[in-house]
């Protein structure tokens, strides 16, 4: 932002950015629009409007089962890949060791493999091992792909750590464990949180791995894919919109909550500070009274 820019350049930049944002939101608006269409077929403009599909989406059994599968997978994947991602981020960026460069490249490989191929490869693998595919095998498949992403997210924060602090803690006689818990971990908490958020979202929206590895179970994206290719039902747009609103509200709520907690802590801290200031001033004033 230190770069000097003329108003014309700024207007043009704003224009570009606005166009991109509209482009990215267009299909979501189209889903919202379609979800209120009263007809069983999609013909625009609609003859009449309804909220019936939202009622069906929230009361029928199928959407509830789909939601259950998606949520269960996302929770398992989030926990597994955040724990594993943190551990491997320590190897990725936290220590100097022989073989690290190779390690860095090797663990990023799954990201470059087309997910269709990875999904099919895992299907053949489970078949060889006589494991029947269910949502659990799909959660494993997603963990394989998502852990490297979480690793990179947390590694970014580890690179930013002050190594001197760790040495200082050792110099002051702190144990390995204590240094780890009190010096290394706290500044990494925000990155661990974003890593977990990434993991949750990537699992929530995953289609290509789930398609081949869920067996008889189906996640929300899988169901939408089947309907999109096999025949339109008016539940597709409404479930699509709900699949967006649910995580958006949850994530938004969590972010807001952490903001509030932080603000409250800040206020608390400043009250405490002013209290102690008051005491100190009182103490200073004390003798003169």
């Amino acid at each position: 932002m230190a770069l000097e820019t003329s108003p014309r350049v700024r207007i043009r930049a704003t224009g570009f950015v606005t166009l991109l944002v509209i482009f990215l939101w267009m299909p979501i608006f189209s889903l919202v629009l379609a979800s209120f269409n009263a007809s069983r077929f999609f013909r625009f403009p609609f003859d009449s409007w309804t909220t019936e599909w939202y009622e069906q989406a929230t009361t029928a059994t199928t959407p509830r089962v789909l939601l259950g599968t998606s949520v269960r997978m996302a929770i398992v994947v989030t926990i597994a890949s955040t724990v594993l991602g943190f551990i491997s981020a320590m190897a990725f960026a936290g220590h100097q060791w022989r073989g690290r460069r190779t390690f860095q490249r090797v663990i990023l490989l799954p990201l470059f493999l087309p997910q269709t191929v990875l999904g099919l490869a895992l299907l053949l693998w489970f078949n060889q091992l006589n494991i029947a595919p269910t949502w659990k095998t799909a959660a494993f498949a997603q963990t394989v792909w998502i852990t490297p992403v979480v690793t990179v997210v947390i590694a970014i924060a580890i690179y930013g750590l002050d190594q001197e602090q760790r040495s200082a803690a050792y110099d002051l006689g702190a144990s390995k464990l204590r240094t780890f818990a009190e010096i290394t971990i706290p500044p990494l908490i925000p990155a661990i949180r974003s890593g977990a958020l990434f993991a949750f979202i990537l699992s929530w929206v995953n289609l290509s791995l789930s398609t081949y590895t869920t067996g008889a179970d189906a996640s929300i994206p899988e169901w939408i894919q089947a309907k999109a290719l096999g025949g339109y039902t008016p539940l597709v747009p409404s479930i699509g919109v709900l699949s967006f609103v649910l995580p958006a509200v949850t994530v938004g709520g969590i972010l807001l909550l952490t903001q509030l907690v932080r603000a409250a802590r800040h206020v608390n801290a400043s009250i405490l500070k002013s209290d102690s200031m008051q005491q100190r001033t009182d103490a200073l004033k004390g003798p003169s009274n």
Binding site: L24, H95, V106, F112, V117, L118, L124, I156
Partner: protein
């Protein structure tokens, strides 16, 4: 401080030094869980695919009858055309994404106020909460016959629009739509490593806009451009929903072939051979672009 403490501290310091024996070093231990995970969930499955690709066509079990038939079938049955289609679509997508993302990334990093840039970033990221195929289905509703565009045009202008779905253009639109963020964010990271002073100095010395871009920004932002370009290309090469939802049966990409051969034809060995070739193509691209950049610098530079 006691002697034991001193000894422990020396051990700690020694542990931080590079080139220490693997098992004496915490880094090696930290790497174990993910190495096991990728061994079981990545290397193993890929090995099975590799073995299956040498099995007789239609086999469902691994046997000792190794054959190269499946690889010969790729060109014999003209599946090489699908690879060419996928590579062409991926290249076009990558170029369009680069052209779109560069000015946007520049605006986010250098032009807009940080507050505005944060809001825009949030607006760009939020749609990613919807799965790719669901968003592509949204495009399908916009572009289809009697869809939102055609329907609007028919009722307002009473002109029918030509078919917009089921051709290469629709697939490219879908791929650009899905992969533009994967180009944008590496570019943002890349461009934020270019110091403003350097750009200002170049301007003061009379460099044109193009010269600044070509000789100052691009070389400095290179790691971001390489990563963004590679990610977009490799992901587009593996894309499948775009062709399924917006392409119908008009365009056959290699991923669609693989899906069909495995699923509908139930020919695992041939599907495996097609996959192995695709993996080798993406692997080579990833390997060469990764070897041109220093991961510590790129990922550490984002901190």
């Amino acid at each position: 401080m006691t002697a034991t403490h001193d000894k422990e501290r020396l051990d700690e310091l020694a542990a931080q030094e590079p080139r220490i024996r693997f098992w004496r070093n915490p880094g090696g231990w930290w790497s174990l869980p993910i190495v096991v995970l990728l061994g079981v969930g990545f290397a193993g499955p890929l090995l099975i695919v590799l073995i299956f690709s040498f099995m007789p066509a239609g086999a469902f079990d691994i046997s000792a009858q190794f054959t190269l038939d499946n690889y010969q079938s790729i060109t014999r049955l003209s599946f090489d055309r699908s690879y060419i289609t996928s590579l062409r679509l991926a290249l076009i997508t990558t170029l369009i994404c680069l052209v779109i993302s560069y000015p946007i990334a520049y605006a986010l990093v250098k032009t807009l106020r940080p507050r505005a840039a944060n809001i825009v970033t949030a607006l760009i990221v939020t749609p990613l909460l919807v799965s790719e195929n669901t968003r592509l289905f949204g495009w399908n509703l916009i572009l289809s016959k009697r869809g939102i565009l055609d329907g609007t045009s028919q009722s307002l202008l009473s002109t029918e629009l030509p078919t917009m779905l089921f051709n290469e253009k629709a697939i490219i639109l879908g791929m650009v739509y899905i992969y533009v963020p994967f180009m944008l964010f590496p570019l943002v990271i890349g461009l934020s490593t270019v110091p403003d002073e350097v750009i200002e100095a170049a301007r003061d010395l009379g460099a044109t806009r193009w010269q600044v871009l070509h000789e100052v920004e691009a070389p400095l932002a290179k790691p971001g451009i390489v990563i963004g370009g590679m990610l977009t290309f490799v992901l587009s090469l593996g894309a499948i929903s775009e062709a399924q939802i917006l392409g119908g049966n008009a365009v056959i990409t290699i991923t669609k072939d693989i899906d069909r051969v495995f699923g509908f034809q139930q020919n695992w060995p041939f599907g495996s051979a097609l996959s192995v070739v695709l993996v080798m193509i993406t692997g080579l691209i990833a390997y060469f672009s990764m070897s041109r950049i220093n991961l510590d610098e790129v990922i550490g530079g984002a901190a």
